[in-house]
């Protein structure tokens, strides 16, 4: 696994939710959206994306439905209302967090102390 993929572990759930923000996708499309959306940095082993989707489904954040495509069974996922709320909340939290880190790293001067 690439170092970037290792680093994203703690954020994988919200990133998977984000890939479904524009509508339903099947597992492989979710993985591709993650890879393309990150410019190739987040390139997980494809087989591990499916269990993560199952975990989100068990948590009620996404729902899955079977269909048939090219003669194969295909499961597609969409955000549930709870998943949409979590995505909105996590986006807001991330913006605050990223803003604080950026401020720290890119350096506004430290306030003077007496």
């Amino acid at each position: 696994m690439k170092p970037e993929a290792q680093a994203l572990k703690g954020h994988l759930d919200v990133l998977l939710l984000a890939t479904l923000a524009d509508g339903p996708r099947h597992g492989y499309a979710v993985k591709e959206a993650l890879r393309e959306g990150s410019g190739g940095r987040f390139d997980l082993p494809t087989g591990t994306v499916y269990p993560a989707l199952h975990r989100l489904e068990a948590a009620g954040l996404i729902s899955g439905a079977w269909s048939v495509a090219d003669g194969r069974r295909r499961r597609s996922y969409r955000l549930t209302p709870a998943g949409q709320r979590k995505l909105v909340a996590d986006r807001a939290n991330w913006r605050e967090f990223a803003s604080a880190i950026t401020t720290m790293l890119e350096g506004s001067p430290w306030p003077a102390t007496t």
Binding site: K31, T46, G47, T48, V49, Y50, P51, A52, H54, A69
Partner: protein, 189 residues
């Protein structure tokens, strides 16, 4: 399945070790991956090898499925909860001086050990999804044991003690939650 022996063999590994729905989902994704590799102009063997490599080794994929298996989660919850409930019942039995026949003690003790062993097996290990399925059998055992203890209390009406006052609602809650989880565990079997 996907059209190449390498991919069919890879999927056969999962078919032996994962639920059928999971295998169908993996087969769909693997076929898409294979076609994407083919579209880059490589030959079929290179496309199949590339798709399999992109999916991850069977052990990595199976471990990811095992980690999120409902049976593993339920088994871990029951193992965490068990000592507290067991302590309440044990203390209640000692303080209440219940006249429990030796055969009943042995039967309950052996059943309890069996349930614990099943839960430990279901909750540990990352290489076998089949192990997590034992949580359903263990759950049935938990329901049976809790039910038997509650029926015994109802029939014998032992004297009130605080451990008993804690043990009864704890067992009722565990029984209800476990009974609710069992159909889901069986559905993943």
């Amino acid at each position: 399945m996907a059209g190449h022996d390498l991919i069919d063999g890879y999927l056969a590994t999962f078919a032996r070790r994962l639920p059928a729905d999971a295998v169908d989902e993996l087969a769909d994704g693997l076929t898409e991956t294979y076609r994407r590799h083919l579209a880059t102009g490589v030959d079929e063997r290179a496309a199949a090898a590339g798709a399999v490599a992109e999916f991850g080794t069977p052990d990595v994929v199976i471990a990811a499925f095992v980690r999120q298996a409902p049976g593993r989660r339920v088994a871990r919850l029951l193992l965490c909860w068990g000592p507290a409930v067991g302590l309440c019942w044990g203390t209640a039995l000692v303080l209440g001086h219940w006249p429990v026949p030796l055969a009943v003690r042995l039967g309950v003790g052996l059943s309890l050990l069996t349930v614990i062993a099943l839960l430990v097996v279901a909750a540990t290990g990352l290489h076998s999804y089949r192990r997590t399925r034992l949580a359903a059998a263990a759950g049935l055992g938990v329901v049976g044991l809790d039910g038997a203890l509650l029926v015994a209390v109802a029939l014998t009406a032992p004297p009130f003690t605080w451990p008993l006052a804690l043990a009864v609602p704890a067992s009722l809650t565990r029984l209800a939650l476990t009974a609710r989880a069992i159909p889901r565990l069986l559905a993943h079997s």
